[in-house]
Structure formats: structure tokens, C-alpha cells
Symmetry: C2
Subunit: 910 residues, 2 copies
């Protein structure tokens, strides 16, 4: 029986303790944390286990727990946990799984009122109201003492109908401008919150009716998640939008989150602006300054103002100042703008209609601003990775009135209009023949109409924190660090490995690097990680749509990555670097690797994938624009690439939604025929939903990952997922040549597989591609095999083992087994991990040796490669860079994956 | 007789040799250089002297020479010299002044045709045509081989009728956009050019008739100077514009110089774009790339393209590439944008209507671009101090067509519209009483209507260089260095001192630092120079209107300069820091000091001064905006602040024009009454041109400088200048209390002086201000005294010596001499140089000791001051900075001036 549920009796009754530690060391602030933990198969039943937490010094702390994934037997595989905020921050926690039904813990100073029209959450340290309709997401935000410091929190969006395509001013004529705001469609709140409350608001953006501009249909759907923690005065906001416009008509010019900050009753000289600068630096100003004047109000006044404290009573000031406040300008508006990753500018003005005054700026801003008063309190808002996400900005407005505003611009209106049009006009590639010919030279797989951003998305993180009074700049600097590097709790790598809950194809270095040869490989893996981290900075792989990705191939002549050459530019997860970097994190627990992989996961899951429209659920092949290539495939959107991130974060809800949404991705085969350019019958071909061409490598690996993850998560459609997975596995097993068949016919209703159209009688078709196993097929099959255990269809297992054995076995053996050879195959270094898998499963030492030979002595990176970069400067390059001309990302991904998996699976044969 | 002309007989008949050396060491390129040389009084007659040049190794080189200033006796005081370009660059030159009428040297391979409709200049290395009418400044630019690589060179200007004052997109509605181009009004060419030809084109900007936009009157007058040198293939362009718009209606959005670059006949893959990046770095691309492709055209093809050489014949390429060129995108347009001093972005596109593709950018761009072909040749254009002058940009356009363009944006259209409106609305300061009260607190001297940019100007330097074929990137890197640090030739400081041609109130350190006390002062002077150089960078004193200036006063509470506090922000030459820094350069010959003072001279002479309109000839007092303060005075525009720069550069023509233009500055007293806010009779006062109130300190020092410099230059109005100078001197001398009278009545027609209105009988008014002598009065009087020698009115000399003696003499002596004390005076450290002058003149050692006591033990910087800065970082500051909280620019200027002058005048008494 598949998915048999474990009985209570089978659960290990002894309690189990797991340590978690801070990824980057103990943080200065812990304002609520969510993390994930893996558990061994067969140990804990979700409804029979209570998870308890204590600090490393033994103090019990409240813990909210939930299950993010289950073993097939129903025991807990991964859990998510939330800890509230605490004053003293331990270096780590111990999490105990103890037998017993989870008790509904009382909400730890967390009070939630879910009314018809709004939700009110009181964390004990702040109180926030979330209306369920209208344009306002947060109607009121107050401190524990009851000061309302934020109101009317809403999203703002600006767009225009065209872009000035020439330098002529006249090009600006005839452009319509649109001013839009959020409109709520649906609000949900998670059930059973004790330590953490999550409110999810969905909606779209609509024209602001009070400000008549040109009309525009509602567009840019959003999902905004608010995470509130017990005893915490900070709210984490995860903001997602989908671009659903037309690239040639809809040019976004601003994406923002805006809060009103009540300032009534606060003297202008007691109102404070704080804006984060460089490396914890701050601009610290008052709306009406008392420093630097010709007359001195008194040192206490000046010091208080700079420190954000209430100034002494004005009757104590030198009257030469207090009598002349009317002559001291008040600064109503501030703006910080980061239009490049290297520089920001700052300015302020007394009011609209007057010139801005430049404030000296700097290089990279921290992305946080505070507006408030010494007595009225105020609000801080921070935008994670602010300068990396350029063009970004922060506005503080109307600070000299009764109601100020802070606007965080996720896309700054001061930047260029967002231009998502194709970068070329098709170059006359109006037939498949021409497109295929062009593919031969630029490696771009072009087709008109496919180069659309319609449906891509972007997720940003924002943090808001109310204050009873203006905090010190040191406090805000600490907050800025939290905003940019939110503290993460992780268990030890060896523990994760031991649970086997995140694959068995990797191991920690301590278990695998007993030999000098293994140590050398470790050195190489470290080099590759460090090199890519450095390239992000040196090659300025930053920006709203770009940050998190890296490039595909290097141009050794120009000393640049091929950012402008068709299929060689943005990598879009080609050949699974995601899996390499995440597995490298799993086995090392390194913070630098985590942050790199995190940014990569965010980008590749959002920007490289369609979330609505005709290509919904598919991703886009590598290219100059993330969305431009006409190859739309599930190999790019495969949830396998986000799986580790999802579980390690305790089930990041945005990622979780993306994983589940792919359950309908197979329907997109009906609109996107991956074989349209090469099939004989194109022109007459009509897709049959019961017999879609399915690539048993790149398509099956994606679908299988969708299904397994939905199943192990016990998602809403997990039974359908399990059923389809089983059907496809049995189907593949039933093909005479199994995986070597290459392509088969797939029934999108039930997952059934039939032999390919070229071999309806299942006599044995052979079509093996170097790409088939390059998008996570080995990893997902390994996971399925482990997951299903004895329930795995044996013929499927054999089909896979055969594929693993024969890919590198040579033409003679292939012919003997399949009747024909696999042809001239490449990516042998990467495929050595398939050989290693077969070797491990069979215990065949000769095969293990073959695996290492394939890894070390075929293609990819040889042991004799430079394994170093050189620094280039002078006129050959725009700015000094490190170059490793021998590196391509394809090779990096394959080397990294094979190294890790070979060490884990056949390390002793090295 | 004043200004008696020396007879030929009196001229020293022996020849004299002067060495000049490169300021920053021998440069890699010397593409034509102009420099200045001083000569002792009575040595050389302009029409009886020939100047000859040889390299330091003895090789004769052609030299063009002219006289920039004469001693009163008619002998040569300063000369200007031009050297053509040479392949081998010596470490220095020897310039010999030999007796004999200057021979008209044959134009050294420099051929000039001055026709009715155009001027054609052939330097031997390039040929350029300058039409005398129309919108094109340079109609054709060709290499020595005859390749036309530049055409249609013109100025472009964009502006709009309003600025969006709110973030609402709707604010953009209703704005008119204007597209303008240069229109020539007048072209002049210097006479007698042999080594250097200077063409000066004046005009304004007019709506481009072929591109209908809203209408606008012609505006923004310009003067563009083209400097061409024999044997040189580079043209230096000095571009000046005056803002003559209305701040609330005219928002400039782009100021550019654009050249067409013919590309017809060049293959797209042999067309090259080069754009300067960081520290000599370059982007090196072809319009159609052959590198990084899926198929390799051949290594020779790739290497040639990257190196800018013609690729091998296409028939030799791999046909898998040559057969598919139609699929390789061509990049028509490139744009580099520097919107902050810290970061630039780069992008390119295939054509208008398609999205731009981001090219990784960097921090600070070199400001140079090249467009051209391997066989057709091309054009490089560079903009000096590109990133310091942000917002700046470079466009390369239409490079895939037969006619490309390069546009250098002195003000980038990608930046914000230039907003020159007042920064506040007057704050209700609608009476003089209120304005004076406000002055007490913000130190801003406000008055409605005075805060106008109408008439301020800006000068920029651009370099253009044609190439027969695409140069190497190393060549362009060398050119970029020349653009940003144009090589300067200077004589030795000791020689300048010895000639006494630039004042006798400074001396070289070797002559003055024989004591430990003097050495300490040298250390302090060095500290002040280095500190201000560092503050420019750390405080980001950069930008189109700001670069070159520094701030007035520091805010020790906020750890920022008082950029936002009224009169404490931009310094606008307050208390003559110009003289300090230039004198410090004169005595040290240091390159860092020269570059600092050069930028300061450019800024303060242009932006801080009105060049047309009601305030023409006056400058603006220090403030938040360079033009905003209502105190418009000649103390800011005084030519004394540009005198050293003018002579050292061999007579920079833009500076020279500014000096001469001030001859009418005294007429502006009729429209701007400096005493309007304080005079008893305001409201009824009507200025009488024969009896204008003239401050004998701050006004006289400015006018005297105008007149002396016009006289010594033998400018067109030098006799009028000499006459007015004499009249005012005799007038001051005739006042009972001389300079201590403070204010007198001035006749703008003839310079005659009458006693002040409060003392028509000349019984002896006393009105001494700490400011009177703080704007160059000591220095200009010293120059006049030296200049006139025996012709100096003795009573004037005595009046000045009295003032110098009594300012610091104390109340009792003042009363004894003048009948009343001078009151409570400050700036004693600065005034110690007056005491020192009196001491030197009188030989009174006691007085010399008094001078040093005033310098060391009164106000200003004490010897016990910290004389160091501290580095601040963390949350107190926006970004790490060095702070010297004990420093104010007023004190720096006065300390520096007094230190230098005291050392020179009474150094032995220290
Ligand atoms: Ca991507
Ligand atoms: Ca200024």
C-alpha cells in the first residue's frame, strides 16, 4: 500500500532533542523567527508529537510548530517552528519532540480578533489592524502603549502608457500616466497561531479615483503576507506582485508601500527623520533643526534633537532661538534614491514648489527610514537588499504637517520606466527553420510572441517597526542589519544528513573527505562558491529583475559574461546550479552559501517562471532577458530547485504557494508544445490531452517533483499527485526501453504513459539526450525511491538503474541492452553521479571506479583545470574583475552536483 | 607720470632662461599645451622680446607667445605661451626671452583659412571646419589622411516648462517639453596664431524647427572656445553657458554636445564602441559582435574585433558564423549615465522601440567615448571631471546606421530636471526688519526676488580627437587621463617669487621655514589643504552646480557641514579662501593644491557670480544655494580670486573675459543697494550715480582689483581703469580718516570719492568692520602699491598703513589717532597680516612681534588647536567621514592667508 499511515505504536516513544543555531552567529535583535527542522522516517507522528523549545541555557520558551512534510508512512519529515521575540537572545535553542498530542498552547501575549471587516492582531508589543476590503492593507499600527504611529498602509503603483524611445523631449508627448493603489480581494489568516500570526492579503492595483488620470483596468495582482510574532514589535512583510500587463503598453514607473505617520501635536523640532546610509550609518535630522544655527538654543536642546530625544521645554531655550523659530525652515520632504548599485543620492525640501536641497549621499544605502516624534513615537520601514534591488528609493513626505508619510519604493519613480519589451525585433526569424538556424549562432531560441513578461513575478521583503519614541541611531542600525540579514536558525548539517529528510545523495565533508583526493574536491567546491559570490559583485548582477541570478557562459575575448549573446546570458537555472548550491549549503551549513542560494531561489522561482497567462507554470530557458526565450519548460520551474529553501525556512509561504501552484503546470503542455519547432507534423499537430509528448527527462523530472512535494507536504491535491506520480512511474517502467525511450505520450488527466507516437507498439524506441537527466532527474528519482521504499515499482527502479548504468557504459553495451547506441553524448562529468548511484545501489566497486573516472577524466572540469581566477584590470575591462575564463555555469552545476553526490555515494572508491 | 612706458634702452639686453616642468610629472600624451610665465619688472619689452623654447635636452621647439600682463613701466609682467603637440615628450622646457622684435613665426604646420562663411583649421594632424552661422559649430572634422570622422557638431539643449512637484504621475500632465539647438551669433578667431588657434563661437539655443514642440524664445547664451594646436589631433573645447531663464518656468533637462560620426561603408562587425569605465578601464564592443557566439568565426576575427582592428576578410571566417550574421543582433545605441558621484549605469539596445539591455556598470566613469570603424576611423569625445559633474551621461546613437552620433551630456536627460527655484518660500520675511531678524538665526540674508539663478553660468571642458582607425584601449585610457588631468606646465615657485609678478606677500617655504615655529605653521597649512581636499570627497561636494565649492561652517552636533542652514552652507569665497589656496599653490607648486584651486576658481567665477541681468557683475553671499542670498556683492565676484589662475594658465580666455566684464560692475550699485536693509532713508533713497555708497573695504577691494587687472592686462579699457583707480585712491587719501572712514560716496562715471553722507564736511567719520579687509583688500592694495611704485599717491599709502597699524592697535591708540575707537573687532588672526605689512614697510620689529602675537594668541586657530581630524563612523554619520569640528572655513581662509603673508613679511620675527 502506498502511503500507508504509520500507527501510533510504531512511533519511537522516547523524546528527541535537536539543536538549532544562528546561521550568522547570535544576532543583536531577534524579533521573531521561523525555521525548519527535519526528522527521521518513522519517529514522530504529527498528531502525537509535541515540540518544545528551550534556550541553550535551559530556559523554556514558547514554540509554535507545524508540519511541513511527511514521510510516506505518515511520520513527520519536516516541521516548521516559530519563536517569538525575546529580550535576551541565546546562542541557540534545543527543540524537543516529545510524545503526546500537540497541546493548543495559549497565545503567548498574542491576541487576534478576526472580525467581519478586519483582523486585529496584538502581539503584546504592537497592535495592527488589517481591513478585509478597500485599498488599505493596514489601517492602524500602534505601539504597546497605544500610540498610533502608522495608518493607511497601502500599496502604490505608477505606470505610463509608453516610454520615450528617443532623446527628444517631444517623445514624452502623448504618454498617459497612471496612478494606482492596492485594492483588496481576499484576506486570510493562518489558523491556530500562538507565537506567529500570518495574514495574507491578495488583490490588485486600481486607478486612484480621487486623482483623475487616464483610465486603466485593474492590474498587477499582489499577495502581501504579514508575519507578526509574539512579543515582537516588528512585522515582516513579504510582498509579491505579478506583472500581467503588455510590455509595449504598460511601463511601470513606481512600486511602493506607503504608510501615514501621525505627527499631530509633536513640535516640529521634536520630529525626527532617520535614513540609513552606508554600513550602519544614518542621516539623523529633525524637521526643524536647532543645530548649526547662528544662536545656540543650549547644548541640551541640540544634543536631544540629534539623539532623537524630546528637547527641553522651549521656555528654557536661549530666547534668541526660541523667539525666531518662524525663520528656521522646516523640511517637509526627504528622498533617498538608489539608481545604481554603487551610489545613492539624498535630498530634502521645505515643500512642493520649492527646489530640493542636496544632502551628501554615498555608495550603498541600508534601505531603512524612520519618521516620528520624540513623544508621538514613529515608524521605521526597511527594505531588504535595498541597493541590490535598484532602482529603489525611500520618500518621507509631509513631515511638517499633521500626517507624514513614509514610502518605500521597491521600484523608484526616479528610475527609468520599467521596460520589459523584447530586446530585438526578431531579426526576421519568421519561420521555425530560421529560428533553428539562429539558435546555431546566438544560442537564442527565439519565437515571436513568446518573449513576453506577462506572468512573471517578483517578491520583496519589507520590515516595519513602530516605536514609542524616536529610537537611537544605534538601535536603527541594528534594525537595518536585521532587515538585510534576517536572523536564521538552522540545525547542524550532520543532523540533517542523519535524518535523510532532504535526500541521501549528499553527505557532510567530515564523512567524505578522508582522502587527499576528496580534500582537493572540497577545495574546488569552495572555490566555485566563492567565485560566483564574487562575480555577483564584480559583474554587478543586481537590480529589481536581475538580482539573484548569474550568467550562463563567459566571453573570454571580451572578458565579460555573455550578457548580450542570446542563450548565454542569464542562467535561469540551467542544468541545476540551484541543486548544487543548496546541497553545498546543506553539507556545510555555511552562511555565505545560504545567502547566495536564498537570493537565487527567490529570483529563479519568481522572475524565471510564469505565474499566470498561457505559460503559467512553465519557466523560461536562459537568455538575455529572463523571460524572452521561446523555450518555456517545466525544467526551469521545477519545484525541486526550491525544496531545500522551503523546508529549511520552516515552509516559506510564498515558496510553498509556488510549489503547489505547479500542480496544474501539465495543462500548459496543451498551449506550449515543446516540440513544435522540430516535429514533422507541425502545422497539423493538435495536442491531445490524453497523449501529450512528454520528455521522460526534463518534463518528467519537473512533474515528478511537483507530485512528490505535493504528496509529502500533504497538500490539498496530494492524493491526485501521488496517483499521477505512480501512473507515470508505472508507465515509464512499462516502456520497453524505460527512460532510454526519451519521449512518451502523457495523459494529463491521470498521468498515464503510452509509448511514443513513433513506436506505438512499444517495440523499443531509443532517444537519449545529455539534457534528460540534467534538470534534477537523478535527485527526484532518488527522493522518490527513498520515499516510497518498498512501494516503489520495481520495474521503474530497474529502468532508472539501467539508465544510470548505460548512459556512460559505451556504445557496445548500450547496443547489447537497447538494440542501439545512445549516440554521441556529452556532460559525462555530470552524469558520473548516475553511475555512482547505480554503483551504490548495486555495490559494484568496478562501477564506482567507473563513476570516478567519468568525473575526473572525461569532460567538464579536469583536476588539472586552473581552479583559480586571475584579476584583470586596465583598459581590457570596464573595471577590475576576477576572471576564470575556463568556467561555464553548466560545468559548475554539473561538477558541483557530481562531486557532492559521488562523494556521498561512492566516496570510498575515490 | 603714471604708467610711464619704459624705453627700449632700459631693458636688460641679456637673455633670460626660465624652466617649466609638468605639474604632475611627464604625461603620456602632450597634445598641445598653453602655460603662463612671470617676468621681473623692467626686464623685457613686449615688442622688443622674442621668446624661444627648447626641450630640457636642448632641442628647439616652436613656441607661440603673447603678453598677458605688463608692469606699469610697460615691461612684460606675465606672458602666455603655447606649445604644439610632439611625439616625444620632454620632462620640461626652457623658455628664453631674448632681445629682438618678435618674429612672426611661420605657422608650424598649422593652416587657417578664414572665409566669409566658415573658418577651416588644419593642424597637420586634423582638419576642422567652423561655420560662421547656423546651428552647427563644427561642420566637419577629419584626420590628416582625410577621413571625415565628425560632422554636424552642435549643442543640444532640452528643457521643460515645469517639474513634477509631487510623486503623482498626474503631476507630469500639462508640462511642455522643449528641444533646442545651438544657433551661432558670432565667431571670432585669434590673430597671429602660429602654434595655437583659438576659435570662439557665441550664440544661444533655439527651438529645433524640424521637431515641433512647444515654442520658447531663444535662451541659454553660450560661448564655446575651440583650441587647436599645431601637430595635434586633439581639440580642447571650453563650453560656457549662462542660465538666463526663469527658475519657476524653465527646467533644463539636458545640455549636450553632439557629433555625427560617418560610418557608411564600414561593416557592422568592424564598427567599435569604446566607453571609459573605472580607473582607465574600458567597455570594448563592436556593433555586431563576433565573440561569445555558439560558433567560432576564428580566433583572428575575435581578437581583431576586441582590439579594434579590421577583421580578416569574411571569406576566411568559419561559414557557420559568416552565413548567419543576419541572426546576430546589432547594437545601435549605447548610454552611460552617471546620476550620482558614486555609480554609473550602462545599457545598450538594438534600436528604438526595443528594450535596453543592461551592461554591468561601476562606480565612477572616466567620461570618454569613442565611436568609429576599423577602416573609416572614428571620433573620441571626453568630458573632464565627468563623474564629479553629475548628472552626466554619454550617448552613442545610430551606430548601426550610416551616420552614428556621440552625445556628451554635460547635464544628463536621465537626471532630474534642473530645479533652480528658491529652497524656501521666504518664510514670511516680507519686511527688512523680519529679514534682519531671520539673519540672526539662520544667518541667511533673504529677500524675495533676489534668490534668482538668472545670470549664473557654468563652464565645462570637453576634448575631441579624431582617429584614422579605432585606437587601442590603452591609447584611449591615456587620452582619458589627459581629459581629466590636462597636462599643465609651470615654472618653479622660487622663480615666480623672484619675479614678484604675482604679489610680494608670499614666499616659498625654503625662504621662510628656518625656525621650528615656522615649520609648525607649514605643517598646519598642509593639514588644512589636505583636509579640504578630503572633505570634497567625503562630503560629496560634487555636481553640475556644486563641484569646486566647499562649505562655510560645520555643525558639530550633526557631524555634517551646515549644508541646510542659511548662510552657513556653500562658501562662495567668503573671506578669500581662494587667495589662501592659490598663494599656497604659488609657494609650493603642488599639483594637488593646483587641482583643488582650479576647480574652486572655475566654480566661484561662474556659479557664484551673475553674468547678465540686474545683478550682472556681482556675486552672491554664502548660502544654501549658490545664488540665493540677497547680498549681491562685488566682494564675491572680485577678479582678484581668479588672478593667479589666469596668469598661470597663460591667460585662460574664459577667465580673462570674466575679469574684463567686471569693468561695468560698478553700474550694478545703481540697481543693488547693499545698504538697503539698514539705511535710515530706505524707501526714499534713490541712488545717485555720482554719489553711490561705496564700502572702502569690501567694495573698493573688488573694484580696485577690476581696475588694476584691466590696467596690467592693458585691456580695452585699461586707461579708464587706471583713471578710476587713481581717482578712488586719491579720494580715499583725501578722507580725513582714510580707510577707517568705512563708507564713502563714489562717482561711477569717474571714480571720484566724496566723504560719506553722514559726514559731508569730512570731519572724520569712523566705521571699521572686521569684514572690510577680508575680501582681498590687503592683497590688492599691496599689488597696487608695488605696481605703481613711486607713482603711488603717498597719502593713500599712509591711509592704508594707518589702517593696517590701527586695526590691531587697541582702543586707546585708535582714539588718539581717529578720535574714536574702532569698537569691538574680531578676525584678529586674519588681520595680523595687515600688522605684518605695516611692520615690514616700517621695519618696526615691535610691530612685527605684535603681528605674530595677533596671529598666535587672539582668535582663529590657536597653536594648541587639535590640528588633526578624527574619523567618525557608525550610526552617528551617514557614512564614515573625517571630522575636524574645530574648523570653520572663515578661520581657514584667514589663518592660511595670514600665515603665508606673515611668514613672507615678518618671518624673521617669529
Ligand atoms: Ca533568471
Ligand atoms: Ca558657490
Amino acid at each position: 500500500v502506498i502511503g500507508r499511515t504509520l500507527s501510533t505504536r510504531e512511533i519511537n516513544s522516547s523524546s528527541e532533542t535537536v539543536e538549532v543555531k544562528w546561521l550568522e552567529g547570535t544576532p543583536a535583535l531577534a524579533l521573531g523567527t521561523t525555521f525548519g527542522l527535519p526528522w527521521p522516517k518513522g519517529k514522530h507522528l504529527g498528531n502525537q508529537t509535541t515540540f518544545l523549545a528551550s534556550t541553550d541555557s535551559g530556559e523554556d520558551v514558547s514554540l509554535q510548530s507545524w508540519v511541513t512534510s511527511y514521510w510516506a508512512d505518515g511520520s513527520v519529515k519536516w516541521t516548521g517552528h516559530a519563536l517569538g521575540s525575546s529580550e535576551s537572545i541565546p546562542d541557540g535553542y534545543e527543540i524537543r519532540a516529545v510524545k503526546g498530542a500537540p497541546q493548543r498552547l495559549k497565545r503567548q501575549s498574542m491576541n487576534v480578533v478576526n472580525a467581519d471587516d478586519e483582523i486585529i492582531v496584538d502581539t503584546g508589543k504592537l497592535k495592527a489592524s488589517f481591513p478585509k476590503s478597500g485599498n488599505v492593507l493596514v489601517s492602524s499600527l500602534s505601539t504597546s502603549s497605544g500610540k498610533v504611529v502608522g495608518q493607511n498602509g497601502k500599496l502604490v503603483l505608477q505606470s505610463q502608457s509608453g516610454a520615450a524611445d528617443t532623446g527628444d523631449s517631444s517623445a514624452k508627448a502623448g504618454i498617459d500616466y497612471y496612478q494606482l493603489e492596492s485594492q483588496i480581494n481576499m484576506t486570510t489568516i493562518d489558523a491556530g497561531a500562538s507565537v506567529r500570526t500570518l495574514i495574507t492579503i491578495r488583490g490588485d492595483h486600481r486607478i486612484v479615483s480621487s486623482k483623475p488620470t487616464a483610465t486603466h483596468d485593474p492590474w498587477v495582482p499582489f499577495t502581501v503576507r504579514f508575519y507578526l510574532y509574539a512579543n515582537s514589535d516588528m512585522i515582516r512583510i513579504v510582498h509579491t506582485l505579478i506583472f500581467d500587463g503588455e510590455a509595449d503598453k504598460d511601463f511601470i514607473t513606481g512600486i511602493g508601500l506607503r504608510f501615514d505617520v501621525p505627527l499631530e501635536g509633536e513640535e516640529l523640532y521634536d520630529r525626527h527623520v532617520r535614513i540609513a546610509g552606508v554600513d550602519g550609518g544614518f542621516l539623523s535630522e529633525a524637521i526643524q533643526g536647532t543645530t548649526g544655527l547662528r544662536r545656540d538654543p543650549g547644548k541640551a536642546v541640540r544634543a536631544a534633537q540629534f539623539e532623537g530625544k524630546k528637547t527641553p521645554d522651549i521656555t528654557t531655550w536661549d530666547t534668541r532661538v526660541s523667539g525666531r523659530l518662524q525663520w528656521i525652515p522646516t523640511w517637509n520632504d526627504y528622498t533617498l534614491t538608489q539608481l545604481s548599485p554603487d551610489g545613492f543620492t539624498l535630498k530634502k525640501r521645505t515643500k512642493a514648489g520649492q527646489s530640493w536641497v542636496k544632502i551628501p549621499g554615498g555608495t550603498r544605502a541600508g534601505g531603512l527610514a524612520y519618521l516620528g516624534g520624540a513623544t508621538t513615537g514613529g515608524l521605521a520601514i526597511g527594505h531588504r537588499d535595498f541597493w541590490k534591488q535598484y532602482p529603489t528609493g525611500i520618500d518621507i513626505s509631509n513631515a511638517a504637517t499633521d500626517l507624514g508619510q513614509i514610502t518605500i519604493w521597491l521600484y523608484s519613480p526616479a528610475g527609468e520606466p520599467m521596460d520589459l519589451r523584447p530586446f530585438h525585433d526578431g531579426l526576421g526569424q519568421d519561420t521555425y527553420a530560421k529560428q533553428l538556424d539562429a539558435l546555431e549562432i546566438t544560442y537564442e531560441d527565439y519565437e515571436e510572441g513568446y518573449n513576453t513578461p506577462h506572468g512573471i513575478s517578483k517578491t520583496s521583503e519589507i520590515f516595519i517597526r513602530p516605536f514609542d519614541s524616536t529610537p537611537s541611531s544605534d538601535e536603527l542600525a541594528a534594525l537595518t542589519k536585521v532587515v538585510n540579514e534576517p536572523p536564521v536558525l538552522v540545525p547542524d548539517a550532520a543532523y540533517i544528513k542523519q535524518t535523510e529528510a532532504m535526500g541521501t545523495y549528499w553527505d557532510v565533508p567530515n564523512n567524505t573527505t578522508t582522502t587527499q583526493a576528496a580534500q582537493t574536491i572540497e577545495t574546488h567546491l569552495n572555490f566555485l562558491n566563492k567565485f560566483y559570490q564574487g562575480q555577483i559583485e564584480q559583474r554587478r548582477w543586481y537590480g529589481f529583475w536581475d538580482y539573484g541570478d548569474f550568467m550562463h557562459t563567459y566571453d573570454t575575448d571580451r572578458h565579460v559574461w555573455r550578457y548580450d549573446v542570446g542563450g548565454y546570458a542569464w542562467d535561469n537555472s540551467e542544468l541545476s546550479p540551484n541543486l548544487f548550491f543548496w546541497n553545498y549549503f546543506l553539507r556545510t551549513g555555511r552562511a555565505d552559501v545560504y545567502r547566495f542560494a536564498e537570493a537565487h531561489a527567490r529570483h529563479t522561482s519568481e522572475v524565471d517562471v510564469y505565474h499566470l497567462g498561457p505559460y503559467n507554470g512553465f519557466g523560461t530557458r536562459h537568455g538575455v532577458q529572463h523571460w524572452a526565450d521561446s523555450a518555456k519548460q517545466i525544467r526551469v520551474s521545477t519545484p525541486l530547485y526550491r525544496q531545500v529553501f522551503y523546508y529549511v525556512t520552516g515552509g516559506d509561504e510564498r515558496i510553498g504557494e509556488l510549489l503547489h501552484d505547479l500542480m496544474d503546470a501539465d495543462k500548459t503542455f496543451l498551449t506550449v508544445d515543446p516540440r513544435r519547432k522540430v516535429r514533422q507534423d507541425n502545422g497539423t499537430y493538435v495536442p491531445d490531452p490524453t497523449a501529450i509528448d512528454l520528455d521522460l527527462g526534463i518534463d518528467f523530472s519537473g512533474l515528478a517533483a511537483v507530485w512528490l512535494i505535493e504528496w509529502e507536504r500533504r497538500g490539498p491535491r496530494w492524493q491526485e499527485a501521488r496517483s499521477k506520480l505512480n501512473a507515470t512511474m508505472h508507465g515509464i517502467a512499462s516502456l520497453k526501453n524505460g527512460f532510454a525511450t526519451g519521449v512518451a505520450l502523457y495523459n494529463i488527466y491521470n498521468g498515464e504513459i503510452k509509448p511514443p507516437a513513433t513506436d506505438p507498439e512499444n517495440r523499443g524506441h531509443v532517444e537519449v539526450s545529455h539534457l534528460s537527466a540534467s534538470f534534477g532527474l537523478p535527485e527526484i528519482v532518488a527522493q522518490i525511491t527513498q520515499y516510497m521504499g518498498d512501494d516503489l515499482p520495481a520495474a521503474f527502479d530497474q529502468a532508472w538503474l539501467d539508465y544510470c548504468y548505460y548512459y556512460g557504459a559505451g556504445a557496445a553495451e548500450q547496443r547489447a541492452r537497447y538494440g542501439s547506441s545512445f549516440g554521441n553524448l556529452s556532460l559525462k562529468q555530470g552524469h558520473s553521479r548516475l553511475t555512482a548511484y547505480a554503483a551504490k545501489r548495486s555495490g559494484n566497486v568496478t562501477l564506482a571506479t567507473r563513476a570516478w573516472n567519468e568525473f575526473l577524466n572525461t569532460d567538464g572540469f579536469a583536476p588539472t583545470a586552473p581552479w583559480a581566477s586571475v584579476t584583470l584590470s586596465g583598459s581590457r575591462v570596464l573595471a577590475p574583475v576576477d576572471e576564470a575564463a575556463w568556467i561555464s555555469t553548466n560545468d559548475v552545476a554539473l561538477y558541483g552536483l557530481a562531486a557532492i553526490e559521488n562523494l556521498a555515494q561512492v566516496g570510498s572508491a575515490l
